[in-house]
Symmetry: C2
Subunit: 309 residues, 2 copies
């Protein structure tokens, strides 16, 4: 009944690995069209075939190749990122209007960057985020400030989350993102955040969305989440700053472990907690049978061009 840590990691990093099983990998790829941008050889993401079929693709900007299973944005090779983004935004707006896509209901029109093979900015899309674990430490050990997501959230309602988490806006640096989200989501004073937050690396994974995400099932969502720790003075209590969070609770290590095993955490928040546990010596080669598999899956090498901030 209880989920192992590896099961939690696999739920987040759920896109098959070529080297594990070529047949499974190839079978899975058949469900998607590769997203490409004219002028670049790289696959920038995968779009579910059923989405490609229903999507309104204006012919002046898009070419669908059903045999090769590609969707190509045909903007000129030397188009500006702004122009590409505008074309994509117009396409999304048209799709929102059609109202054929569950995942677009309540579309927030937030923009996130997509990068080319040389790290150059190509267009806006969703890919990068920042997650922070706030904790207090006393003689009894560590305790974690864990929020419960609002039951009205479109995605993963009522699930447990990392203390602060959010998507990085275009042109935003990861550290600035986490400071901003700290103010918005947890009412953490900016000056304290700037002095206390420590960058701890990142987790990368390739997720296939399931029913808990809301919206279409099977959407491919490869992500980079920059990871931060913040040790809080016990007197500083995170408070919901917007309507995204129901409440914050201070949980012991054991309580967090139990909530993880019960599957209460949003999948990518579970892996950020597992990464914290590994970095702080709470999860070790001696007490976690799947230690090595977990560590490499938390840092998956994504087959897409990635940002350099």
């Amino acid at each position: 009944m209880n989920k192992s840590n590896l099961e939690l990691v696999r739920e987040c990093d759920s896109f098959p690995y070529y080297e594990d099983n070529r047949a499974v990998y190839t079978e899975n790829l058949k469900k998607y069209h590769a997203f490409r941008v004219n002028g670049y050889d790289d696959t920038l993401g995968y779009i579910l075939n059923s989405v490609v079929e229903k999507w309104p693709w204006p012919k002046e900007h898009w070419v669908i190749d059903s045999a090769a299973q590609t969707v190509t944005l045909t903007t000129p090779a030397d188009a500006t990122p702004e122009y590409r983004s505008q074309v994509v935004a117009e396409s999304i707006a048209a799709a929102v209007k059609v109202d054929a896509f569950e995942v677009l209901r309540g579309w927030r029109n937030e923009k996130y960057p997509v990068y080319g093979p040389g790290g150059e900015f190509l267009l806006d899309m969703e890919r990068y985020g920042a997650h922070m674990t706030c904790y207090v430490e006393d003689a009894t050990g560590l305790k974690f400030w864990i929020p419960r997501r609002s039951k009205n959230k479109q995605t993963y309602p009522s699930m447990l989350d990392n203390t602060v988490a959010g998507g990085m806006c275009t042109n935003e640096k990861p550290f600035e993102c986490i400071v901003r989200e700290g103010v918005e989501e947890a009412s953490l004073p900016e000056s304290i955040s700037r002095a206390t937050i420590v960058a701890r690396g990142c987790v990368t994974y390739s997720h296939i969305r399931d029913a808990r995400a809301g919206g279409e099932i099977g959407l491919s969502q490869p992500e980079v989440e920059y990871v931060y720790d913040m040790k809080l003075d016990p007197s500083l209590i995170p408070l919901p700053g917007d309507n995204e969070v129901e409440e914050f609770n201070l949980l012991t290590v054991e309580e967090v472990r139990e909530a993880l095993a019960r599957g209460e955490f949003k999948p990518n928040c579970a892996v950020v907690i597992i990464d914290f546990f590994i970095r702080h010596g709470l999860l070790t080669a001696e007490n976690e049978p799947d230690f090595l598999d977990i560590l490499s899956r938390l840092h998956r090498r994504l087959p897409y061009p990635l940002a350099s901030h």
Copy 2:
């Protein structure tokens, strides 16, 4: 002239990636025979063709398939690990006697475990290690206890190293390994080590040995190094406990950065330092252009069955 952090990581994680360039990957694989054990489908490692040719392979225990480029240990599928290890040890002893292999001169006869696809112990070979960074912290920041390897070491003489590092013996747990090596290499009192050392995960990489390693060039050496931090009281000074280390010096972050850039660190010790810098917020998405590539390469998913301790 100076080496970037990504160059240092690539020097350590130097075995090509299939997904980066299939032609380069395939061309590289042609240089090796796959090492297999009768009864298991998995490739357990890669042996350089020139080594396979010169190696004395007693026909009763080994089959060389030059077309498939495999070396198979033909012990019965239900052989004990002890028996397999004995056969391998006899083969190595015979090769040492022939004296045709530079890398075997000064062979220390240390034994390390190899695991099967279910994590079961198959035989003894070299793969797992533990590395520890000892540091002190004061108002001016962090300082690191960095040893210089003895100029008489067979491998990487006179290069800089992590404070404590060593290979894990068969049946040894990673934490016990680092405590033991701490006593042997740095005279760190066992009781203080047990109370102070914190497990921080591991780095995994697939290395191709170059001239600095001593011995044959091109040997494939995939490794798992468990990573530990130990914050030392300034009064506790590491002292060489054996003849492996020339001296310990206390270096600032800047001095370590410069030594890294000059290529003074042993390749796999450089990546352990880079991992420390990332985990402690010294290397971030904002100051390291190759941040994401470095992070995933430090946690390469190795295509061999791995241990569960």
